[in-house]
Amino acid sequence: MLQIKVLGGGCSNCINLAKMCTEILEDNKIEGEVTKVTDFQEIMKYGILTTPGLVINEKVVHYGKLPTKSTLTHWLIESTTK
């Protein structure tokens, strides 16, 4: 089961990223949980400077801007095999 965290103060990019993740999980029947992390103290622990940040199973995969849907799908599917 994937633990997905979306890091960001609540801007539109972060909301969109979380929505994309949930959709991809559903579409590809991947088991996982998407949580939004909005507390900056918590966000800074991941060492990112720009949001939105994407963390899959405690590993920072992406940050700074919205990935395309196909790239995101690829990351999520890849993570299930690890």
């Binding site: 960001g8 972060c14 900056f40 949001t51 590993k59 920072v60």
Partner: protein, 340 residues
């Protein structure tokens, strides 16, 4: 659409761009007077002409400049900037911070994590502020509109005064030793500067793609405000009488500069909508300094952003920040009113 742009396509596009841009006045004249057949020197004709001429002109400039800025920005990243600014002294640090604020790519919602990441890894507070003030203040969309509607000289003045305000404000904040007004937890955490992602080498074709992506993102977001703003501007252009604004925002009215700055703080408009209106007001007797002060205040000091800042800064530091930046903007306003 999976069409790959290469250098040749870019070159051809650029030639078409130049042809179109340089003949815009002719095309507009043909369209308004010959094709639609409108009477000359009527308020409605003036408004329509202004709209038909300015919208494509500003959009063309926007596409070109956003593309160039996009490519320039692909050479910078917040991580590199942090490395450059780490441990820099005041003055040099403030100057570098202001300049890097203009070219480092990030969206406004990243201001807080950037602030935290910078101070936690040892970038001085004042230098961090220079960086964070310059970034929204010198805005590429504002720059495009100033070039398009006012000319290169005004755009350059805006760029240099924006940088100066960022430099001086950050310098003063650093000198005032305001670190104690940052929420204590910020300094308690040691920054995690190890990113799990290593930066990849990118070639020039990829930079072109980044530039095109920037055009899609930014032009896609602001074009509607731009068209609306120019629409309102066109209305003012055609219908509001000459010197209408002179009594309110004219040179001789000393209090117009501070009032403009105060009015600008709660207004949260992007530059795209505000500048065409500002340009139209200017034609009606408003003074350039007053109008510029208003514009800078709207862009650099915005209430929603200040509220988010409250999460990491104490109210004293936020107030000092507003006070210093507002004073800087007012000085610029008065300076322009004296020069022009």
């Amino acid at each position: 659409m999976n069409f790959k742009f290469n250098k040749l396509t870019i070159l051809i596009t650029f030639i078409i761009w130049i042809l179109f841009y340089t003949n815009l006045e002719y095309i507009t004249n043909q369209l308004v007077y010959k094709f639609i057949g409108m009477a000359t020197k009527m308020p409605f004709t003036n408004a329509v002409w202004f709209f038909i001429f300015e919208v494509p002109k500003v959009l063309l400039l926007l596409v070109l400049i956003v593309f160039i800025v996009g490519i320039i920005r692909s050479y910078f990243s917040p991580e590199k900037t942090r490395k450059i600014l780490g441990g820099k002294k005041q003055f040099i640090g403030n100057a570098l911070g202001s300049l890097l604020g203009v070219v480092t790519p990030f969206c406004s919602c990243s201001a807080i994590p950037l602030f935290l990441g910078f101070v936690q890894s040892g970038v001085p507070l004042g230098v961090t502020f220079s960086f964070l003030i310059a970034a929204p203040m010198v805005n590429e969309v504002a720059l495009v509109l100033l070039i398009g509607l006012f000319g290169w000289d005004t755009a350059l003045l805006y760029l240099s005064t924006g940088l100066t305000i960022a430099f001086i404000s950050g310098f003063i904040i650093g000198k005032l030793k305001l670190e104690k007004h940052v929420e204590p937890w910020v300094y308690a955490v040691q920054a995690n500067t190890i990113n799990n992602i290593t930066e990849q080498k990118i070639n020039f074709d990829e930079r072109i793609d980044i530039g095109i992506q920037a055009v899609k993102d930014i032009v896609g977001k602001v074009w509607i405000y731009l068209v609306l703003g120019i629409g309102v501007g066109a209305g003012i252009h055609g219908y509001v009488p000459e010197n209408f604004m002179a009594g309110l925002m004219g040179k001789s009215v000393w209090w117009s500069v501070p009032i403009s700055v105060i009015l600008g703080i709660p207004m949260y408009s992007n530059a795209a909508g505000i500048i065409p209106i500002v340009q139209a007001l200017l034609g009606k007797g408003a003074a350039l300094g007053t109008v510029l002060a208003f514009m800078m205040s709207v862009i650099a000091l915005s209430l929603p952003e200040l509220i988010i800042l409250k999460k990491v800064l104490k109210i004293q530091l936020i107030l000092s920040f507003i006070g210093i930046v507002a004073t800087g903007i007012m000085i610029v306003g008065y300076l322009f009113n004296i020069i022009y």
